[in-house]
């Protein structure tokens, strides 16, 4: 959003942007100072976002770089997507070795039942770690619960372990105990690091050190780079 563009906006549109970017304005702020404050807030968000982007993403952004600062139009009546699809389900999507995203829906009848049930105690997401990508109960290694609100419909889950598998259950809790409403798909989580290979030859370690690993730009999990590879990397950098 350019300053010129902000100057062309109505007072209502500016106020909406100020709210969207959590700009704290004094009650008697004039138009000029509102524009300045909103512009600064937008720039700050943009700079923060840019700093988190790697080279591939920064360049890809330029393809859509018309620099036209349109407002995020609210959909007109009849143009909105539904909140849900009136079915009870839970879906698990892997984001990276440390985080997964889940979304769920509840049938309206079930939702209404819980909303009016004095025995209803709450909803929870039960997270199962599995030894293999299997629905068999034997595969369950560990589990933990995440309490959620009846009004929630999505959640980011911090995965405690890598190089493993996870599945979720959507569970309602009431005086009668827990009821499993839906089971998710299984996701397989990568290790997120170099394979341990103590038998690697000097040549293999040297090639790894030459592979630009100091600039991989990848979140690392688990072990650190073995000292013997770091030593080779130092040698390469000094060469």
């Amino acid at each position: 959003m350019t300053r010129t563009r902000l100057e062309s906006l109505t007072a209502e549109a500016l106020e909406r942007l100020a709210n969207q970017y959590a700009v704290d304005l004094p009650v008697d702020a004039d138009r000029e100072s509102i524009i300045s404050a909103v512009y600064e807030a937008i720039e700050e968000v943009r700079e923060e976002r840019d700093s988190g982007n790697n080279n591939a993403i920064r360049i890809e952004e330029k393809k859509y770089g018309i620099q036209y600062d349109e407002q995020d139009e609210e959909p007109q009546e009849g143009e909105s997507l539904p909140q849900g699809y009136n079915e009870t389900r839970i879906v698990l999507v892997l984001r990276d070795p440390a985080w997964a995203f889940t979304y769920w829906d509840l049938k309206e009848t079930i939702l209404n039942k819980y909303e009016n049930d004095p025995e209803f105690q709450g909803m929870l997401i039960r997270v199962f770690e599995l030894s293999e990508a299997s629905d068999e109960r034997d595969a369950i290694m560990d589990s933990f619960d995440i309490p959620v609100q009846l009004s929630d419909s999505s959640w980011y889950i911090n995965l405690p372990e890598q190089d493993t598998h996870y599945r979720l259950e959507l569970v309602s809790s009431s005086g009668d105990g827990d009821e499993v409403l839906a089971r998710s798909n299984i996701v397989s989580v990568p290790k997120g690091f170099f394979a341990d290979d103590n038998n690697a030859s000097f040549q293999e370690d040297a090639i790894l050190a030459l592979s630009g690993i100091e600039h991989l730009g990848v979140s690392a999990f688990g072990n650190r780079v073995p000292q013997r590879i770091l030593a080779q990397l130092d040698q390469q950098l000094m060469a």
């Binding site: 943009r46 080279n55 330029k62 959909p75 999505s154 293999e204 090639i207 030459l210």
Partner: protein, 542 residues
């Protein structure tokens, strides 16, 4: 024999943006800018190399959405209008800055460029830029690899194998429809890979694909030669790992070549610099400032005080950077050679639009790299994956990991608080599309038209560009609208088929607007659909 090999892979892609319902549409400029600044300049590079008998072999993918737009008559006509407007502005600019020794040559340069674009587009290619790429494809100079139909970020759809296959099948078929051959290689959108994807690739006749470096380096076992030789996945499909060391030289806006102070500044544009009274006819709606493509300043430095751009100086710098790039690759090869059993291959994939659109001197750099490589006496040789694999078939098998080339190596660009809402809807649309394909296995007439349109809408809703733009925070309103519209169009067809009541007029309008993949067959969404391309793959190879 070469001491080492270089695979240059250019991935050209834009999302399907076509709005016949408006007299003009701003986001269609994404395509027009890319034709003017990247695709035509690249073809001119190839022409000059051929004219000088310089051999070259590069790898390219032209995404199916881009293929569709480049073949579309409406967009071709609008591109001509775009060029005519730019030539008009250039002529006014030549007038405006006449006698200014810094800016007059630049205005003339833009005028000449846009005039040349119009001549090439209209006369040389008869409005079909793809003819240029086809020419070099048929000559074996370009190895064209396939791409998914609408460029979805596949790891977030891995629980829908039918959909993944549909994207691959429709994508490879669209390449066959224009170029007459199925691809043997594949570009995964955003380098997005998940274990098991190779089975879909193999089912669609694909022999090799590209992946992020850590997809290979973090595999279940360490590949002995890292990313410097291709490896096999468990089903025999081959993967080439992206080389990080060379990538950063070209990609980094700070430490990389494109950030050199002599090069043209991407951000400073007369669309913002000149009074609205003057520039109004060439910006959006007469008064909303946008980039026009006329940029008169060099990067100069980090401050806002910019010096005029000097093309001659920038051209010299592009050659210097090409020499530096080759020097560094040769140096890397000399270090790798004693450690490896075969000559190393350095795989360098780039967004094609980096060259020319963002990095104005990118095509000149690429041309200089190819020319200089021809002078290295074969020490470092440009090759294609197919040619390399013929001489050096891989011997190592690994299981690559879930990965992408996005921030931090996984899926956070396409799955964060700005865009996670879309997956509830796109996933449901896939399931419902599969349900339709089962319920209506062999329908014809109006129903078949509706089902095929439903398949188009589902595919279009999955483009990775929309969550990317939501994450980037640029034209978010448009990206939101596109996902919303495609899902709603699909839902309307889904419900109409359930009621047995399809509105012909509405359907016809939709078919005219979202007219991509004219030969799509909705049965590709059947759980038991045959994923193998219709032509035997071995007959379709080079």
């Amino acid at each position: 024999m070469a001491k080492g090999y270089l695979v240059l892979m250019l991935h050209a892609h834009l999302p399907f943006v076509r709005h016949p319902e408006y007299p003009s549409f701003l986001e269609e400029n994404w395509l027009f800018e890319a034709i003017s600044e990247t695709y035509l300049p690249l073809l001119r590079v190839f022409d000059r190399l051929e004219a000088d008998s310089i051999p070259f072999s590069i790898c390219m993918s032209l995404s199916p959405t881009l293929l569709a737009m480049l073949q579309d008559d409406l967009l071709r006509q609008r591109y001509v209008t775009y060029l005519e407007r730019h030539i008009e502005l250039a002529e006014r600019e030549v007038d405006r800055v006449q006698h200014d020794p810094s800016f007059e040559p630049l205005a003339q340069m833009y005028r000449d460029l846009y005039r040349q674009d119009l001549i090439d587009f209209e006369e040389k290619y008869g409005r079909d830029v793809l003819k240029g790429f086809d020419y070099y494809y048929k000559k074996g100079r370009i190895e064209l690899v396939g791409a998914a139909a609408t460029h979805p970020y596949l790891p977030l759809y891995q629980q829908f194998p039918v959909m993944v296959n549909a994207q691959l099948q429709v994508g490879t078929e669209s390449q066959h429809a224009y170029f007459g051959k199925f691809p043997s290689g594949f570009w995964l959108p955003e380098c997005g890979y998940f274990p098991g994807l190779e089975s879909h690739l193999k089912n669609n006749g694909i022999r090799y694909f590209f992946a992020a470096a850590h997809s290979i380096l973090f595999a279940d076992r360490r590949p002995p030669a890292g990313v410097y030789e291709p490896v096999m996945t468990p089903n025999g499909t081959v993967v080439f790992g992206r080389d990080i060391a060379s990538a950063n030289m070209v990609w980094s806006s700070e430490d990389g070549y494109p950030g050199d102070f002599s090069y043209r500044d991407f951000y400073r544009d007369i669309g913002y610099d000149l009074p609205v009274d003057y520039i109004g006819p060439y910006v959006h709606d007469g008064n909303i400032r946008i980039n026009t493509g006329f940029k008169y300043y060099a990067i100069t430095g980090k401050s806002d005080q910019k010096q005029p751009y000097v093309p001659r100086v920038a051209a010299g710098k592009a050659v210097e950077h090409a020499e530096n790039f080759i020097y560094n690759q040769l140096k890397q090869i000399s270090k790798l050679t004693p450690l490896m059993k075969q000559p190393p291959v350095i795989t360098c994939p780039y967004d094609a639009e980096l060259f020319g659109h963002w990095w104005f001197e990118g095509p000149a750099w690429l041309e200089a790299v190819i020319r200089k490589l021809a002078e290295t006496n074969g020490e470092l040789e440009l090759t294609t994956p197919t040619a390399f694999l013929k001489t050096y078939p891989p011997t190592t098998t690994i299981q690559p990991i879930y990965s992408s080339w996005g921030n931090n190596g996984y899926s956070e660009v396409w799955l964060d608080g700005s865009n996670d809402w879309i997956y509830r809807h796109t996933h449901t649309a896939i399931e419902r599309m599969m349900e339709l394909a089962q319920r209506f296995p062999d329908d014809h007439g109006l129903k078949e038209r509706a089902l095929n349109q439903a398949a188009r809408e589902v595919l279009l809703s999955q483009a990775s560009d929309w969550p990317f733009i939501m994450h980037a925070g640029t034209t978010v309103g448009y990206a939101n609208r596109r996902v919303r519209e495609h899902v709603m169009n699909f839902d309307r067809i889904y419900e109409a088929l359930g009621r047995g009541n399809i509105g012909t007029e509405w359907l016809t309008q939709l078919e005219k607007r979202d007219n991509i993949f004219p030969n799509v067959n909705y049965r590709v969404f059947r759980a038991d659909s045959n994923p193998v391309p219709k032509l035997p793959a071995q007959l379709a190879r080079h």
